[in-house]
Symmetry: C2
Subunit: 259 residues, 2 copies
DNA sequence: TTTTGTTGCGTTATTAAGACGCAATGTAAA
DNA sequence: TTTACATTGCGTCTTAATAACGCAACAAAA
């Protein structure tokens, strides 16, 4: 996008965005990915502020909340089908990007002091689990660049995004204990050690290799493939994949399993 | 409140409420109480609509979400300290009380067609656990009367309040499995059979009396009193109460117990 | 005093979780 | 080609938690 067009779009967003979007409502997404045995989060570099931010956006006047989150995620990752869920809503009265955004406008030569963007926002938090290898991150109007960060090396973030991220992580850890959501973070085919690493990383503790395998197979939603991983030193582990039909049945019956 | 004053207040709310409150944001509360071995929910009778509604309200421009929920709950129940938590945010674009509220205005002789109250609302759901015996329900501007309903005999409700209630109940059931929240629904002193009935009612299944008692005592947060329940046929059960200091310690350590 | 229904504490059986042993496997080094 | 090696896959054993059930003590009513 060239600079002229960008400035025009931005100006329109500040001055006329409230005709499209609901006032006071935003959505922030915590996008988790798993790569090289690390749990990562996708962040955007907020322009001018220098700090980082969670991918976010606004809700169209006639749009479902879930739809809005889906749209935002699609724009940032290019993915169509995403495992996505709402986890909490943040409503600190200090949640306003006024300071950040005023710098913005000054920079593009607008002296507007009034904008829906300067008002207080209630933000609905969504968390997403994506297959790292399938994502092609794209930054938005307000950012220049996006990057994956290890969850233990999160940079300074704007507003209460630190808190939002923390809550999303706690939510993920809690959930992993009772529902097999981990698969969403891996490619279609994965080995047992890979799955275990994922669990160990998210739960932040070691698990016994042999008990882990047994418990995973006991859920009955995994299908062992005949194919083994190639090009690996030492014994080649088998590939597994999610047995979708059994998975759906288990969800209906209310799968209960604990790590 | 006399009729004149009521009409004036209501009119002001429709025409000038947006100067006080955030637009598009509301709060709905699912208030649970336990009485005569039944789990109940406090509902308001929506004026003119004929249907029932969850107690709700709006968020002041400089108010925390949690504060707003607390305020709303205080107004409806008279209680100061309430066990309260956010559980989900509802954002169906059809969430508008336009139809309901237009009947309202017509009835008080105002022909306004524009009001912040007619717009779409995103509603943040809060669930509250209260001591039934301490509550004195008070209805609000939009209702004439409030009543406790058994959770299995919920009347027809406005908008998506049925869905909100359902989600709150699921949330409560899920939580009761892992955290000892039940005490909030009982008086300070309670017997073991009373506590068990509460659990059985919420979880909707029978529990073994003897195993239940053992498990409850194993949490270490109950204190057995020397006093027994009087005036009861057959053997008198002991009273128990929550040991607050141990409860707080357990919360910090991250109490994990399962039903 | 006897009957009755419930409570409180106990025991036993069943199941799940956790800890560990060892042979099988496939690559890399000898 | 053979050997060494780190890892995998399946198995056993131990321990802890859960569920199922027995029975005497108790307080009010008959």
């Amino acid at each position: 996008m060239n600079t002229m067009k960008f400035e025009k779009e931005l100006k329109a967003h500040f001055l006329k965005g409230h005709e499209l979007y609901l006032r006071h409502i935003s959505i922030d997404c915590v996008i988790f990915g798993f790569h090289e045995n690390e749990l990562k989060v996708l962040l955007l570099k907020a322009k001018y502020a220098g700090k980082w931010a969670l991918p976010g956006g606004f809700v169209l006047k006639e749009e479902y909340l879930d739809e809005a989150a889906k749209r935002i995620l699609h724009e940032r990752t290019g993915l169509e089908k995403i495992y996505l869920q709402q986890f909490y809503t943040f409503g600190d009265p200090a949640r306003s990007t006024k300071k950040i955004n005023q710098g913005f406008l000054k920079n593009i030569g607008t002296s507007t002091t009034k904008s829906w963007m300067f008002e207080r926002f209630i933000s609905v938090g969504y968390s997403a689990l994506v297959d790292f290898t399938k994502v092609q991150p794209v930054s938005d109007l307000f950012s220049d660049g996006c990057e994956w960060f290890n969850i233990h090396e999160i940079p300074e973030m704007i507003l209460d995004h630190q808190e939002i991220f923390k809550k999303a992580l706690e939510n993920l850890q809690l959930q992993l204990n009772f529902q097999p959501v981990g698969y969403n973070l891996l490619p279609l085919k994965f080995t047992m050690p890979e799955l275990q690493k994922l669990y160990e990383t998210i739960l932040d503790r070691k698990l016994d290799r042999r008990n882990f395998q047994r418990k995973m197979m006991a859920t009955g939603i995994l299908k062992k493939l005949k194919e083994t991983k190639k090009g690996v030193a030492h014994k080649a582990p088998f590939y597994y994949k999610l047995d979708l039909s059994k998975y759906k049945k288990a969800l209906k019956a209310g799968m209960g399993f604990e790590m």
